[in-house]
Amino acid sequence: MKGEMISVSIDTVVGETAKIKVEGYRFVTMSCAELDQTMIDILYHFDKDLELKHLRLTVLRDTPVPSVSPVYFAAFLVENEIQDLFAVRFKGLAIDYERTLYLDEEVKVTPFCKYTVEKTGWGVGSKQ
């Protein structure tokens, strides 16, 4: 993959993002991918003069992740999207759609998980 890759943890992700912002990077987007039943990968992509930089955060699905939207406001949309599709909880979102950004209330499952996560039980744990 093009660009420099930095691994971060839940405690350092916001700090690293703030550092990158000071260096003058533009927020591009975030991607999320499922590794296995419990772990997911969240990638943060930044760009400066056409050079990419990525942060990689590997977390348990049930752990709430601190939002970077206080640092980069633009992140709120994609964090809401991940919240919708992967049932990961983001703490401190600038605008929180409560998992109704794309999916309607009547849709009860999380499409991108290989096993179902019910909407009511989210944030607490996931059920089969």
Partner: protein
């Protein structure tokens, strides 16, 4: 007490459904909150059932306006993972069709923009010109909008000498007609009245919001993914189009100048195109991760592809330019008149089908 006024999802100015909740005090907007989900289909997930060759047809239908560029971006991502070398002729052909797409998209937008402030005859005129570009698409590929020319490793269709000559002569006419509209679009009193100083974004604001494409370039940031030199852009000569003011008028100007720039790029590409193969052989299956970026009419398009050596991809993530530009609407609207909403919303060239996929 602010009044809440809903804007959309079905609105005559917008061809697509987006919903904005506007808080309004005395006709002036204090807050805007967007709501999405009206065109969400979930096509990233289709990667689980379709194999990586078939996904080209799916990503072409992320958005019908810049479909060719989506396919190109996807193909480049896969080619990077697999280490496929695209033949030079195919790279030039991709540039030609990509620029034709940029032209028809920008003309489409210029028309809709004229319509948003009620200048209907200009809308009709611009769309009349646009049909010429679509005719080129149809004559060379067989379809007007979803041209389906990309395959992994190259392109599917060739252009012969005669076709290229015909394209150039058609484009010469298109250019003449566009130039004839220039005075109306750029100097007209009413147009200026509706667009100058509306929805201003300063350079630092635009950069911080992570905007992309013409919206960013209108705020004086020279960022154009074509400078990465993908396809054959490294062999062509062009500069990013930049404007200083950051208002709706500047955005209109950027897109107008880019339309003309596209004609120029196509001319260069046609004059430099080498002979050779159309596509490279693709064997085995992709394994690995890649990101791929191209400059679409609306800005930077970003693909993240994760493959694991099987025939279906592990994860396909598409971030489209409008997704990056939505925060701009939220930043621009407060403080504007309610009557300016259509103009400002349209000024970022929203493509909701892209945004929600």
């Amino acid at each position: 007490m602010p009044q809440i006024i809903p804007f959309g999802p079905q609105h005559p100015v917008l061809p697509e459904p987006i919903h904005l909740k506007l808080s309004v005090v005395d006709g002036i907007i204090t807050e805007a909150v967007p709501a999405f989900g009206f065109v969400h289909r979930g096509l990233e997930k289709l990667a689980d059932i379709r194999d990586f060759h078939q996904m080209i047809q799916v990503v072409e239908r992320v958005c019908g306006i810049c479909s060719m560029m989506h396919a190109m971006c996807y193909a480049q991502g896969i080619e990077e993972i697999m280490g496929v070398e695209v033949p030079p002729r195919a790279r030039f052909l991709r540039v030609i069709w990509a620029e034709l797409h940029r032209m028809h998209s920008h003309l489409l937008w210029l028309g809709l923009f004229a319509d948003s402030f009620g200048f209907e005859s200009l809308f009709m005129q611009i769309w009349r010109i646009r049909e010429k570009v679509l005719d080129i698409n149809e004559a060379t590929t067989g379809n007007r909008i979803i041209v389906a020319v990309n395959v992994i490793g190259g392109v599917r269709t060739d252009l012969n000498q005669e076709q290229m000559r015909w394209i150039l002569s058609e484009l010469a006419e298109v250019e003449k007609e566009i130039r004839r509209l220039e005075t109306t679009l750029m100097d007209d009193y009413t147009v200026k009245k509706r667009t100058v100083c509306k929805g201003v974004l300063t350079r630092s604001q635009a950069f911080e919001l992570g905007l992309a494409g013409p919206t960013l370039r209108a705020s004086d940031v020279a960022q154009d993914m074509r400078m990465l030199g993908y396809a054959a852009y490294n062999e062509l000569d062009f500069e990013p189009v930049v404007e200083k003011d950051g208002d709706c008028y500047a955005r209109c100007k950027v897109r107008f100048r880019e339309t003309l720039q596209s004609i120029d790029i196509i001319r260069q590409a046609v004059s430099k195109i080498p002979e050779g193969e159309l596509s490279a052989k693709v064997k085995c299956r992709p394994d690995g991760e890649s990101v791929s970026r191209v400059e679409q009419p609306r800005g930077e398009c970003f693909y993240y592809i994760k493959a694991n050596g099987k025939k279906n991809l592990d994860r396909l993530r598409i971030r489209t330019p409008t997704f990056a530009n939505v925060p701009a609407i939220l930043a621009m609207l407060p403080g504007m008149w309610l009557s300016d909403v259509p103009v400002i919303v349209l000024s970022i060239d929203p493509c909701i089908a892209c945004t929600e996929r």
